[in-house]
Amino acid sequence: MDMLLEVRNLSVEFHTPEGLALAVEGVSFHLAKGETLAIVGESGCGKTVTCLSILGLVPSPPGRVKAEGILFEGRDLFGVDREALREVRGKEISMIFQDPMSSLNPLLPIGRQVAEPLMTHRGLTRVQAYQDAAAWLEHVKIPAARHRLDHFPHELSGGMRQRVMIAMAMVCRPKLLIADEPTTALDVTTQAQILSVMEGLKTELAMSMLLITHDLGVVAQMAHRVVVMYAGEVVEETGVIDLFERPLHPYTEGLLKSVRHLETRIPGRTSRLMEIPGTVPPLTERIPGCKFADRCPHVLPICRKEHPDLLTAGEAHMVRCWRRDGAS
């Protein structure tokens, strides 16, 4: 398969009043053309910051990004100037965020917002751009799209706003879509509709997708491969079926066990939910060993002393654990 994106040894630090926070530490991954890669992890694990750094959107100061390279179609995006990045953003790589209200301009009608990238990046005339915009709004299943071009974001429901965001991200037919918790703020029936629209567009445009989520249900339904992050590091990377069937990292295992399955209730008895004890260590804390050691049910003496590397543990399966031969 052709490689579309390759992130090499990415680190992001933030200066905070509590000290230097390592939000992302030595993260590497790749994404093939047409592939959907999910980045999974809980709040503060660094999944959003990782994606923002791909687009050069980490505010500096207080942030500082280091990387050996962020290769997009073989071209290194890391360290290129703002102008060059702006060319790529929106045209070849688009991003949609969790909260559409904070990414849409509340003062501009939605038609203008969807048409704008077409005029900037593709050089379409105003009339053409608005026509295209209307077609895209219809494409993401906004009812009566042509009549809504002059509506403002506040006049739309949450689901409709997210559709507008998707239309905006798609108009330039990007090669890569980065979707950061695209359905987390939505109701479950709306989520199902949005996921189905995204999946359809992905196939239609032969696009790759970097999907950031904490919802393993969404991962199971959408992803080809999965990167699991914990406290700023990649702890496991593998194919989606392998992840659900043979998780190797105790954190991944814990996440999978805390997923609640509908339809599995045993009549008359409530079983306890599996929990991962403890909490994520603060990013300002320097931990010599494995960052998950304090919460790990299989902890060994070495786990607290030495930091494990991300190593191969099977075909296309990587794990950062001292017990990688059979932790689970």
Binding site: E42, S43, P143, S157, G158, G159, M160, D187, V188, T189, T190, Q191, A192, Q193, L195, S196, H214, D215, L216, G217, V218, V219, A220, Q221, A223, V240, I241, L243, F244, G254, L255, L256, S258, V259, R260, H261, L262, E263, R265, P267, G268, T270, R272, L273, M274, E275, I276, P277, T279, V280
Partner: protein, 341 residues
């Protein structure tokens, strides 16, 4: 369990006005909660599910008497509290407590944990400093925090720990019923499990009843004995948790269940999305409120509003299908299950 329920709600309604200006007459009314009837037994966990705007939070606030009802009755522990004033509510508040969604905004940032968790008690009786400290230490121990945390402020805790503080505060006065509105939605999955398990343990220890409000079907199904599904201010289905997921009768319940992405990569399904969105509450559809989105809609649904009727013991539905019995086996939910593989 005694024969009389701990809480009984009859035809409860709350209508909010839409006004053009501050003093103008209301232009329209939203029936946020519209004629809702249910009971909660002693020791029971009762779930309220539905999507945003369905009225589940308003219903919870009505039961807590944080807002006044527009109609109907609330009978709690044998007393009709619908029109109780502040003074009359004081002893009731001891038995009726709340846990809120956002563990960040529901704790006063300027108060120490010790004062936060004992505040409800202080409002009822005068207690000495030593007694207060002892009570606070006991409560923290119960919810899995350390006595050393007593002197800390809320910002020193993680989200999950803050929710534990919120739970300790609700437990302080030894309530009988706790209304928990999305108590774990703001938390990470692994921490959600910690809080849910704690709530279930406390239920046994203190013989609590819960009204558990959530949009998350899997949590409600796990925690609750009975579940009510709300749509546009009304209960459309009421069933035991076992039946809820296995044999839903209302097409909306079925659609909700079918929309949850399955955490199983072998069962990739086209999400069985119902079309459209929740209608404008100012301008609700005629007949059954779900009819514009319902794949099983027929003429009667557009004209007449179905009422909630008991179909089998403990299972009620408001749907015209099969002469008011709703779906029987043939559901969206089942259809998805058939797509497996």
């Amino acid at each position: 369990m005694s024969d009389t329920p701990l809480l009984a709600v009859y035809e409860l309604s709350r209508h909010f006005p839409l006004r053009g200006g501050l003093l103008s007459r209301p232009r329209a009314w939203v029936r946020a909660v519209d004629g809702v009837t249910f009971t909660v037994d002693e020791g029971e966990s009762f779930g309220l599910v539905g999507e945003s705007g369905c009225g589940k939070t308003t219903l919870g606030r009505l039961v807590l008497r944080l807002i006044d009802a527009s109609g109907g009755r609330i009978v709690f522990h044998g007393r009709d509290i619908t029109h109780f004033n502040r003074m009359e509510m004081r002893p009731v508040r001891q038995e009726l407590q709340a846990i809120f969604q956002d563990p960040y905004s529901s704790l006063d940032p300027r108060m120490k944990v010790e004062s936060i968790v004992t505040e409800p008690f202080g409002a009822i009786e005068r207690i000495s400093k030593a007694e207060r400290r002892e009570l606070a230490a006991e409560l923290l121990d119960r919810v899995g925090l350390r006595a050393g945390d007593l002197k800390k402020y809320p910002h020193e805790f993680s989200g999950g720990q803050r929710q534990r503080i919120g739970i300790a505060r609700a437990l302080c006065v030894r309530p009988r019923l706790i209304v928990a509105d999305e108590p774990v939605s703001a938390l990470d999955v692994s921490v959600q499990a910690q809080v849910i398990n704690l709530m279930e343990d406390l239920k046994e220890v203190y013989h609590l009843s819960y009204i558990f409000i959530s949009h998350d079907l899997s949590i409600v199904e796990h925690v609750c004995d009975r579940i009510a599904v709300m749509y546009l201010g009304k209960i459309v289905e009421l069933a035991t948790a076992e039946i809820f997921a296995a044999a839903p009768r209302h097409p909306y319940t079925s659609a909700l269940l079918a929309s949850v992405p399955l955490p199983d990569p072998h069962r990739r399904t086209k999400p069985f999305a119902v079309e459209g969105e929740v209608p404008d509450p100012f301008n609700p559809p005629s007949g059954c409120a779900f009819h514009p989105r319902c794949p099983f809609v027929f003429d009667r649904c557009r004209i007449e509003r179905p009422s909630l009727l008991e179909v089998t013991r403990g299972h009620s539905v408001a749907c015209w299908l099969k002469g008011g019995r709703g779906l029987e086996g043939e559901s969206l939910h089942r259809r998805r299950s058939a797509q497996r593989g």
